[in-house]
């Protein structure tokens, strides 16, 4: 097979200048020119729909389809919210795109706004990405100075403003309705859906929320065409009528106990094992892996035996994980205690639950308390059952919470217990034994 040529990372790989002149010299804003000259907004929507592009922010919802949920002939305004909150642990691909090639992202935003008839885009950027903020602002200034933003873009009847809006250090602002509430100046409490943002979103107007990598893909779908996008990835499973396929290139993040932590672009569908061995430089210190998270910690945990699973939208679900998520893989080696992994994950969700729904607020809190107790060697075998039960019962899937944070909090916990039960039991038993010895010794 021919070596895959990166597209999203093409300019980044050759360390090209991030600024407008260089981007244009590399063919940048060609797609925008083409869309404005030759395509109606509806045709851009159709192209994105035909490409099979699915959202890269975690949920994998088909992008073109989402755009068609906007009310027809709405008098406006319609808002575009670009989700650059990127707070899912172990995920950093949006950061690289924004810092290193901002115009690729901005061109995708402009195209997406043209397609959806949005005249204002808010790019909600997590506060921690200060460098990205400054790079993007400079790039946006360039666009205003070159008639690529503002009134009558490229001389057409098309107007658009893009504003950067900085977050304030809360994971929940990545959930699309939490993001909208936060943008509006309130606490980021996710909203009960429906209504979905396409009907009633930011400032109670129809709103599209899309991820940074998603809009970067839009740039190339318009530039290179639908067939190009569909020439890579994994087609829908004919036996599963609900599978929309996993087309296009994907940015995979690799971190944890590997020799070469990095972000690589590959056609959707590489196995976790190939990702780690061929691109992550293998497990560090000559050790073996014990397991990995496949797409941010919310998606659950894979054991080493499950590493041949393809990382497309359907793959992780086949081994009991929640989904592809952000396609951020973090490997832990055979010497890592699963109890430590569990504790780290529970600590995150307990800290980041927005507190609005009791099952999530209390559930994440109790899972952390139990994980802490286990780790101190004071765990009981019954604790494993309690953890599983809480993990099963919190979330939008069981129907007990408003947003998916709780599903993501429960998933790695129940995966950990069910896939690593002997290790947990042994940990608890040996801790019991040593505390007994202490008692005996104390007499």
């Amino acid at each position: 097979m021919a070596e895959f040529e990166p597209v999203l990372l093409r300019r980044i790989a050759k360390k090209a200048s991030p600024w407008l002149e260089a981007y244009r010299a590399d063919g940048g804003y060609r797609a925008l020119q083409k869309a404005l000259d030759e395509m109606s907004p509806g045709q851009v929507v159709d192209a994105v729909k035909a490409s099979g592009l699915r959202g890269r922010g975690g949920a994998g919802f088909p992008t073109g389809l989402k755009w068609t949920f906007l009310p027809k002939d709405h008098p406006g305004p319609i808002y575009m919210c670009i989700n650059a909150d990127e707070s899912e642990p172990c995920t950093f691909n949006n950061r690289i795109l924004m810092e290193e090639d901002p115009h690729q992202v901005l061109e995708g935003i402009i195209l997406s706004c043209y397609a959806t008839r949005a005249a204002t885009a808010y790019l909600y950027l997590r506060y921690e990405y200060g460098r990205g903020y400054r790079v993007l602002q400079q790039a946006i200034d360039e666009l205003y100075n070159n008639n690529l933003l503002g009134r009558n873009i490229l001389g057409k009847d098309f107007h658009l403003d893009i504003f950067l809006h900085r977050g304030a250090g809360a994971y929940i602002c990545g959930e699309e309705t939490g993001l909208i509430e936060s943008l509006e100046g309130k606490r980021a409490w996710p909203r009960i859906k429906p209504p979905f943002p396409a009907v009633e979103g930011a400032f109670r107007k129809p709103t599209v929320v899309n991820n940074i990598e998603t809009v970067a893909c839009v740039t190339h779908i318009i530039d290179r065409g639908v067939e190009w996008f569909k020439s890579m990835g994994v087609p829908p499973d004919p036996k599963n009528p609900r599978d929309a396929g996993s087309y296009g290139p994907k940015l995979y993040c690799i971190s944890g106990h590997v020799n070469n932590p990095c972000c690589v672009e590959l056609p959707m569908g590489i196995t976790l094992r190939d990702l780690v061995d061929k691109h992550g430089g293998g497990v560090w210190k000559g050790r073996k892996a014990k397991g990995a998270i496949p797409g941010g910690i919310s998606m659950g945990i894979m054991t080493e035996a499950e590493f041949d699973t393809p990382l497309d939208f359907a793959g992780p679900g086949k081994v009991g994980c929640l989904g592809l998520g952000t396609a951020a893989v973090t490997v832990f080696d055979e010497e890592t205690s699963i109890v430590d992994v569990l504790h780290n994950i529970c600590r995150f969700f307990s800290h980041e639950s927005c507190g609005q729904c009791t099952p999530c607020r209390e559930g994440t809190g109790w899972m952390l308390k139990i994980a802490e107790r286990l780790r101190r060697g004071q765990g009981r075998l019954e604790d494993l059952k309690i953890l599983e039960e809480v993990g099963d019962k919190i979330g939008i899937m069981p129907g007990t919470t408003i947003c998916g944070l709780a599903d993501g909090a429960g998933w790695p916990v129940k995966n950990a217990i069910r896939k690593f039960r002997p290790e947990f039991e042994q940990y608890i038993r040996s801790a019991e034994k040593s505390s007994l010895l202490e008692l005996v010794g104390g007499h």
């Binding site: 172990c90 921690e128 403003d161 304030a168 994971y171 100046g185 971190s255 910690i297 980041e352």
Partner: protein
């Protein structure tokens, strides 16, 4: 006497035309004030509320939701050092790094060194996992912060 200078007010008001509601300027306003004053005092909350036609309780409600903002009793030092403790960093020494930094500065997470120069906090994933363990200095990431680099970093931040 107002705590917000004219310059700060103008900076805040410059955000108003961007949004269809003044309330949306709450986060930008809080950031502007905290960047300048290293905290958001109650009087500033009242003044922001005045500028944005809100009740001070609304501004405070938003502010208190986000862990990033400090009240007058807990101002930030000159530099804010966040040490990441999420999974990718945790696997490569993030928790130990936080411990080391706290011991060297004789503070608990959230505290500020005696000389007022460095506030230390833990962070959840700062999106720099390819360089774990990673830290954030104010709003810029520093990667691969192995223990041998801690002294030099603290020295740099104290300057």
């Amino acid at each position: 006497m107002s705590v917000l200078t004219d310059e700060l007010r103008q900076k805040i008001l410059a955000y108003v035309p961007r949004y269809p509601s003044k309330q949306a300027v709450t986060l930008p306003a809080l950031h502007i004030v905290q960047d300048a004053l290293r905290c958001v005092p109650l009087e500033a909350i009242r003044e922001i509320a005045d500028l944005l036609d809100l009740s001070p309780a609304e501004v405070h409600d938003t502010m208190s939701f986000y862990g990033i903002f400090r009240d007058k009793e807990h101002p930030l030092g000159k530099k804010r050092l966040w040490v990441c403790r999420s999974l990718a960093c945790g696997l490569r020494g993030g928790d130990e790094l936080l411990d080391t930094v706290c011991k060297k500065l004789k503070v608990h997470p959230g505290g500020t060194s005696d000389d007022g120069k460095i506030t230390v906090e833990f962070a959840e994933c700062i999106g720099a996992c390819e360089g774990a363990p990673a830290v954030l200095i104010d709003d810029e990431a520093r990667l691969n912060l192995t223990p041998d680099k801690v002294d030099a970093l603290l020295e740099e931040l104290r300057r």
